[in-house]
């Protein structure tokens, strides 16, 4: 068993690794992250996770619900630290996993991965308390500076493989499973379908007001049998423009906060020198701080950094960049996830019972792999002509989305949440 595996074992048990090992780990992570672009390309299938905020036991619950690394391919959208009592254990575990399985887990930066914010919201104090000096905090902050700013998920399928075959049900003609919500026991609590043939622009709502974006052709709880008339994506032609091109599943952009008025295309993100403390303004700041809101255009953010942006902005951005969805975190949502703007953007929140008192549930978002291999937008990230890889005149179909909702880890698995007391005192 390598040192790294041992460290992973130890951290999984919520026990810290020695300072020298942290340093070592951070240097390894740095070497790895320096090779990543500002926007990392990730291939589906992938499980997208939102804020963790040092809730170590809930992170364990997340892995239990979503599958372990490296079996599941994960993408964490930042805010690993602060607020909770186990920021160090949580972040170091994720970092260890990143170093151990670089291709199976992607970490991007959140607004809390910053020197200024962590000194206020707990991570700094936790480092001092648990290691006796700020050294570990420094190492971690150095790693923060290297974290990617976003990720783009390619090759996601537009149709979900129904997860629950136990329930017998009729295949539903002309529709494919678009979203599915599962509880932590893996039971389907809600599904939505979209038509294969008709225009897929009708919006609909459901009782929980999370606005699944397309038709619900079947009652919630009913799952489609695994029968498909063709490869996913090939059957639908929602464009209505008579073109011979098939509809395609657009790429999914993942950032912690949201869009920026300074960034009109994904490629512009590449022109940021990201190795710096999160600035107070500018493109990099906005990506980590902005929030979607029910407004038109851009608005001032009450957070004092970043902006608010409306549905029109999202629509336009997705259209220009051949995206079908922006996935982001950054805001507490009581249901764990929230789709907005006709499914153009989704907030994913993965810290259940936030701050140990908010009473919310958490969610992760699974995007399936398009097995047909033909339906995705060929988006050549990082190569010549990258900007031209997007066809913008066709409607792109949003990927099938499976949300797994889970609650805070049971009390008996976590021990009492508490901070570690100081060892000795003079005063």
């Amino acid at each position: 068993m390598s040192d790294l595996d041992r460290a992973i074992e130890q951290l999984r048990a919520c026990r810290l690794i020695p300072e020298s090992q942290v340093r070592e780990l951070c240097y390894k992570a740095r070497e790895l992250l320096i090779e990543e672009g500002n926007v990392v390309s990730v291939d589906a299938p992938v499980t997208i996770c939102g804020d963790i905020h040092g809730q170590f036991h809930d992170l364990m619950e997340l892995f239990r619900v979503g599958g372990d690394v490296p079996d599941t391919n994960y993408l964490f959208m930042g805010d690993f630290v602060d607020r909770g009592f186990y920021s160090l254990e949580s972040f170091l575990l994720l970092l260890c996993l990143k170093v151990r399985y670089p291709d199976r887990i992607t970490l991007i930066r959140g607004n809390h991965e910053s020197r200024q914010i962590t000194t206020v919201y707990g991570f700094y104090d936790e480092c001092i308390r648990k290691y006796g000096s700020a050294n570990v905090w420094r190492y971690c902050c150095e790693v923060f500076d290297y974290l990617a700013l976003g990720a783009i998920v390619l090759g996601a399928s537009s149709e979900l493989e129904p997860s629950n075959t136990a329930l017998p049900s009729m295949p539903i003609d002309d529709s494919e499973l678009e979203t599915e919500v599962l509880n932590s026991r893996g039971e389907v609590t809600m599904s939505t379908y979209r038509a294969r043939q008709r225009s897929s622009s009708d919006a609909s709502t459901d009782s929980r007001n999370i606005s699944p974006p397309r038709d619900i052709s079947a009652a919630p709880g009913q799952a489609a049998a695994p029968s498909r008339s063709g490869a996913p994506g090939t059957g639908a032609s929602g464009d209505g423009n008579g073109s011979a091109t098939t509809s395609r599943t657009g790429a999914v952009l993942c950032v912690h906060g949201g869009l920026s008025p300074l960034i009109d295309s994904v490629d512009k993100i590449r022109l940021i020198d990201r190795k710096q403390e999160v600035p107070h303004e500018g493109a990099m700041c906005d990506l980590l701080w902005s929030d979607p809101d029910e407004i038109e255009g851009w608005g001032l953010s009450p957070r004092g950094a970043g902006f608010l942006f409306g549905g029109d902005i999202v629509k336009q951005f997705n259209h220009l960049n051949g995206l079908s969805l922006v996935a982001r975190a950054h805001q507490l949502v009581m249901e764990g996830y929230k789709e907005m703007f006709d499914g153009g953007i989704v907030t994913v929140w993965s810290a259940p019972n936030y701050c140990y008192r908010c009473g919310n549930v958490a969610a992760i978002l699974e995007l399936g792999e398009d097995s047909s291999g033909g339906g995705t937008v060929a988006r050549s990230n990082g190569e010549y002509g990258r900007s031209n890889g997007i066809v913008t005149d066709n409607r792109v179909v949003s990927p099938g989305r499976r949300y797994r909702v889970f609650e805070a880890a049971a009390q008996d698995t976590r021990g009492m949440p508490a901070k570690k007391p100081v060892a000795d005192y003079f005063l």
Binding site: I34, P261, R274, H280, G415, M416, K419
Partner: protein, 873 residues
């Protein structure tokens, strides 16, 4: 109904505190009196310094929850909800005022109870009585406590009863009783009751809880949390462990000893026992109790001469007890940690006392310690001092230099070179940065200790002296970097070397940015720039990045000296090599290079465009995976096509861009500052820091070809009164935010003969064109919103300053010589041609044809947003 209470005699010296954002804010020191004016009983505090200033005037009402804490503290909540505190110098003074308040409240209460005998809810709550503290009564007690906690009245009445009856002390024996009986249900009930009582949020109750004979019983009950039925905490074991308290030098005062103990317990309660259940009010009550305790402890320590003598005597070289020395360092470390939370004046006093007893020697002892943990601790103390007052620290250091002693900086530099513990090295680098930084952002001047330190500073900081010291220290500091000259291959750098170089380059970058004039000497005489350039070729990518950051900073300074430094050698070749090595892969190094060239393109920095395209045209042409390099070539060609005169105005003076520059990262002191004018000012004027700061904030011209130029004379430093900013923003918001600063300097030096014709329409046209051009440049990075104004609305004060800067800039432009305007106008069409770039912009100008639906749409929105931004600002 006349008040039959006699106001107390005499004035009591007191400090007034107000709770703001969970922090006790010091409203000042003054004299407290109790008075009855008309029929109204009041507490008055007059300022000590300005007898006419009233620090506090508050009417005593019967409902105000006045509380006396410890011997010298009165705390209450004002009618408007503000928490206030009076901290008396003398316990006796406190008692007098307390008696007065009590007498008044008693009196008022007796009046009301006579008046509103009908007010039954008050009565019913006042009569809260808990059943006798017995195990059998626990269910009932729990129920009553829970019910009473629901309402404010109930909480007040319950608190009063608990305190009067000393009920908690009576509950304590039940814990062991229940444990003996192994009655888990009773223990859970006790836990719930204790939690509820603590969350009553009453100072007196919390102080009772941490008292010696009670604390173990209370945390004992809290060990049995019904929410974790299968767990039992071990708080008692932890708190009962006397060995955790270490005494380097015994503190004799029993009151202080008690305070130390109870502070420790309060912290444990806050961090461990109650961490999960604390609500905000209780959290702040705990915090303020801790704060006041610590203040008293620290005050006691620093006023205790014999104690301090004993403490620092531990470090006497003849003392063989190493353990004790280590403990003493840790003791001081803890003091410094506590001091961070204190008000600046008491902190200053504490540090001054420590320093006069020999704190620097202690730091020197600690940083040379064999154990890295001790070195860390030592530097932490130093950093606390630096955070507190960097100016004072530099004063001491320069004083040492002046007295021909080895200054602390030399010690630190030597240590940095040899230190192997990377954490310590990191801290050392940070400390050196601050200590050598010749110009430190002035914080609140009141935060300083007092007249003494100003004296230290002003007496010693003659500029020549500072410069000399800076040069010598730099020479010492950057020696290892200089020695790189003798190395041909850089493939065999050791890990330690890599770390050292990255720290050194990082420090150098910091110096250049903070103070380019002072740094010039050392960069020149030690020829450091070529050494950094060497590092662009090392295999370690993060070191490459650090070196790249250095040059990126030089570029952003837009200073001819540094420009020459980069264009008179092959620096750009090396950077282009990195682009070649990394392209078209998408990685951090590649992005950093692209950003650098994007910046040159966006800011239109002529010398670099000329240099890069002339020397490396072919290389640039081959990079086609992004359009940055093609645009550079395009710009160059256009420059050539239209002659030098136009270029001068076009490319040298887009200085309004300067404030938009992306902040450089990771530095200890954030904030990019345009140094030159401020620097001129610094050279030319005396020590009036505020003034310097002011000009820095306001003037953002980033030119200044050299310090010898006439620029200092013409620089528009002083002439923009605040009010004008407002006007500009109101009447011409676009102009105000968009106008490049056309510096008079450039005008006068570069094109002294330009024809002085000017007519208003052209000016207007010019203004619009510029505005649009600015848009375009932004749009190189973005969809071209006019971002600055929205941002200014957005993020607070320091951006406000920048808005002023921009407004000032536009004013300068208005007043600038007509020549500038004229020339710029004539250049307009060329510029537009140049701007046919990747992104379209909403067109105002007739020649622009690249407009598209989408961008103009977004433009409108952003415009709208813009105005919001202004309102917000």
């Amino acid at each position: 109904m006349a008040l039959e209470v006699q106001p107390p005699d005499g004035r009591k010296r007191v400090k007034v505190y107000e709770l703001k954002d969970n922090d006790w804010f010091d409203r000042g020191t003054g004299f407290c009196t109790g008075q009855i004016l008309g029929e109204e009983p009041r507490i008055f505090v007059e300022s000590e310094d300005l007898p006419n200033r009233v620090l506090l005037e508050t009417r005593i009402t019967k409902d105000d929850g006045y509380q006396k804490q410890q011997e010298t503290l009165i705390v209450w909540t004002e009618q408007n909800g503000t928490d206030m505190a009076l901290s008396f110098q003398e316990a006796e003074g406190c008692a007098v005022i307390w008696d007065f308040v009590n007498a008044v409240q008693q009196h008022l209460l007796s009046l009301t109870s006579a008046d509103d005998a009908l007010s039954d809810d008050l009565d019913s709550y006042q009569s809260i009585v808990l059943p006798g503290p017995e195990l059998g009564n626990l269910p009932e007690i729990e129920q009553i406590v829970r019910a009473a906690s629901m309402t404010q009245g109930g909480r007040d009445a319950l608190s009063k009863y608990i305190i009067r009856d000393e009920y908690i002390a009576k509950l304590v024996p039940l814990v062991t009783m229940a444990e003996d009986l192994e009655s888990l249900i009773d223990l859970h009930r006790l836990c719930n009751i204790m939690k509820s009582l603590i969350l009553l949020n009453d100072n007196t109750i919390i102080e009772t809880v941490v008292a010696d004979h009670i604390i173990l019983g209370v945390v004992g009950a809290l060990e049995y949390d019904p929410e974790f039925p299968t767990h039992k905490a071990n708080h008692r074991q932890y708190l009962a462990d006397k060995s955790r308290y270490k005494e380097v030098v015994p503190i004799k005062d029993p009151i202080i000893r008690r305070k130390i103990r109870s502070t420790w317990r309060l912290q444990y309660l806050k961090d461990v026992v109650l961490a999960r259940i604390l609500d905000d009010p209780t959290f702040s009550v705990l915090n303020s109790l801790i704060f006041f305790n610590q203040m008293e402890i620290v005050n006691h320590i620093q006023a205790n001469g014999p104690f301090l003598r004993d403490l620092f005597h531990v470090f006497d070289p003849r003392n063989p007890d190493q353990r004790r020395k280590d403990d003493a360092v840790q003791f001081l470390h803890q003091c410094a940690g506590i001091a961070k939370n204190l008000q600046a004046p008491s902190r200053a006093q504490l540090f001054a006392n420590f320093i006069s007893h020999g704190l620097f020697a202690v730091i020197a002892f600690a940083v040379k310690h064999l154990n890295p943990a001790m070195r860390t601790t030592g530097i932490d103390i130093l950093v606390a001092l630096l955070d507190h007052d960097p100016v004072m620290m530099r004063g001491y250091m320069l004083k040492a230099v002046n007295e021909k002693k080895t200054p602390l900086t030399d010690t630190l530099i030597d240590l940095l070179h040899v230190e192997t513990d990377l954490g310590v090295k990191n801290q050392l680098a940070d400390a050196i940065k601050v200590l050598l930084d010749p110009q430190i952002p002035m914080q609140d001047p009141l935060g300083r200790a007092g007249p003494d330190y100003y004296k230290v500073r002003t007496n010693l900081l003659s500029d020549a002296f500072v410069q000399q010291h800076f040069d010598e220290s730099s020479k010492r500091l950057f020696q290892p970097l200089k020695q790189l000259a003798n190395r041909t291959a850089l493939n065999d750098l050791t890990f330690q070397e890599v770390t050292l170089y990255s720290h050194l380059v990082d420090i150098l970058t910091f110096f250049v940015r903070q103070h380019l004039f002072r740094t010039r000497n050392s960069i020149q005489s030690e020829s450091l720039a070529p050494r950094v350039a060497q590092l662009l070729r090392v295999p370690q990518k993060h070191l490459k990045l650090v070196a790249l950051k250095f040059f990126r900073t030089l570029i952003s300074l837009q200073d001819t000296f540094y420009q020459a430094l980069m264009t008179h050698n092959n620096t750009f070749e090396l950077i282009l090599d990195i682009v070649y090595e990394t392209m078209p892969r998408d990685n951090l190094l590649n992005s950093a290079c692209l950003e650098l060239f994007e910046f040159i393109k966006r800011e239109n920095i002529k010398p670099f465009i000329l240099h890069v395209v002339e020397k490396y045209r072919e290389k640039l042409e081959n990079i086609i995976y992004v359009d940055t390099f093609q645009s550079l070539i395009l710009r160059y060609d256009q420059m050539q096509g239209y002659g030098a005169e136009a270029d001068a105005t076009l490319f040298s003076q887009d200085d309004s861009n300067a404030p938009r520059r992306i902040p450089l990262s990771g530095q200890r002191w954030q904030g990019t500052r345009e140094m030159d004018p401020a620097e001129e000012d610094y050279f030319n004027t005396s020590d009036d820091e505020d003034e310097i700061k002011w000009t820095q904030d306001r003037v953002a011209t980033a030119d200044g070809p050299s310090s010898e130029s006439a620029s200092a004379v013409v620089k528009p430093l002083v002439d923009y009164p605040d009010d004008d900013d407002e006007d500009i923003m109101d009447t011409k918001p676009e102009g105000a935010e968009q106008q490049p600063v056309a510096s008079p300097t450039e005008t006068s030096t570069e094109v002294p003969t330009s024809p002085p014709t000017q007519n208003p329409p052209e000016r207007l046209a010019e203004k619009r064109r510029r505005e649009e051009e600015d848009d375009d440049e932004l749009s190189k990075l973005t969809a071209g919103p006019k971002r600055r104004s929205s941002t200014s609305g957005n993020s607070g004060a320091f951006i406000m300053n920048r808005k002023k800067t921009q407004a000032a800039g536009s004013l300068a432009d208005k007043n600038a010589s007509p020549g500038v305007l004229n020339r710029v106008t004539s250049a307009a069409p060329k510029r537009i041609a140049i701007n046919i770039g990747s992104t379209a912009k909403p067109s105002i100008s007739e020649t622009n044809t690249t407009r598209t639906e989408v961008t103009s749409e977004s433009y409108e929105k952003e415009n709208r947003d813009d105005s919001q931004g202004n309102e917000g600002g």
